[in-house]
């Protein structure tokens, strides 16, 4: 059975091909994986994609608010049902901002505490398992992923906390996020939603001299295939 793994492409996405290249590389070893670039104007039907990535970038130029216009795209129209039917969605950076706008994850992102755009590589602790991305074995591990954002200061009220698990935390908080949270996860029906500011797709290829992102993608392969 073929497994379609999709990267949704919005006008202004700029990490779409980075993720696609990761998927293409994985599909060489695991031919069941079929990487797909999915244009935002096309609806996503239930049970078509096993993995859906909302990539980083500046969808719609960050007009109005980061992620606010992407949220109402055709591709994301039935996102909740698609996830409940079994899709695993990961929103990276701008993709995280989009997921927060859809309210499928709680909280909001405000401007970094320093008010600056931060482009850096940071250490992150894996706080919990998150199927299919992190296993029990990963809990407590520290990984280094790149970050690149201005609106990455994650906040949420106490009331919202029950809905999700913070699964990734900064070792040294770069942006003022509450409890140093870098990524949040929740299951939804048969699927799951994971939003994170750091970029595991930019830590995959050996040419980039940082391969800490490999396990997260490898886990997805092993857990799903």
């Amino acid at each position: 059975m073929s497994r379609h793994w999709a990267v949704v492409q919005f006008p202004g996405s700029n990490c779409d091909h980075d993720v696609l290249k990761v998927f293409q590389s994985l599909s060489k070893k695991y031919p069941e994986i079929e990487p797909v670039l999915h244009w935002h104007e096309d609806p996503i039907e239930k049970n078509v994609y096993e993995v859906i990535i909302l990539p980083g970038g500046f969808s719609y130029g960050d007009y109005l608010r980061a992620g606010a216009i992407a949220k109402i795209s055709q591709a994301l129209n039935n996102l909740e049902e698609v996830i409940e039917a079994g899709a695993h969605v990961m929103g990276i950076c701008n993709g995280f901002q989009i997921l927060l706008e859809t309210r499928l994850l709680p909280g909001y992102l405000q401007v970094n505490k320093s008010l600056k755009f931060i482009s850096d590589t940071v250490s992150l602790k894996i706080e919990d398992e998150a199927f299919p991305w992190f296993t029990k074995k990963n809990k407590g591990e520290v990984v280094r992923y790149p970050i690149a954002h201005r609106f990455g200061n994650y906040q949420l009220s106490k009331i919202d906390k029950g809905e999700m698990k913070p699964v990734l935390k900064y070792q040294e908080n770069p942006n003022g996020s509450i409890d140093g949270i870098a990524g949040v996860y929740r299951t939804l029906g048969k699927g799951s939603v994971f939003g994170l500011m750091p970029h595991p797709e930019r830590a995959f290829f050996e040419d980039l001299r940082l391969t800490d992102g490999q396990p997260i993608w490898q886990n997805a392969v092993e857990n799903l295939i």
Binding site: L64, A68, I72, L100, E101, P106, G107, Y108, V111
Partner: protein, 83 residues
């Protein structure tokens, strides 16, 4: 149906970082407007539309704010009919 112009004003809730407002406030102080106590930067959307009544126009504005113009997790909004 009648034509209306509505204004949807969106503002950050208390406690959300608004560096733009802070920068403007300190610039006003630099210009010797010493009595300035606080500056807030709201977003205002002026929308011309057709509706059955003033109330219906306002309702439409509220729907637009809830669905798109404001993120009610971090922002409040007000809708008024301006003409």
């Amino acid at each position: 149906m009648k034509s209306f112009k509505i204004q949807v004003r969106v503002q950050f809730k208390d406690g959300i970082l608004d560096p733009q407002a802070e920068a403007i406030q300190s610039a006003l102080k630099k210009l010797q407007f010493k009595s300035v106590q606080n500056v807030r930067c709201d977003k205002a959307f002026l929308i011309s539309l057709e509706a059955e009544s003033e109330t219906a126009a306002q309702d439409l504005g509220r729907k637009m704010a809830n669905q798109l113009l404001a993120n009610v997790v971090m922002e409040n909004f007000e809708v008024e009919v301006v003409t």
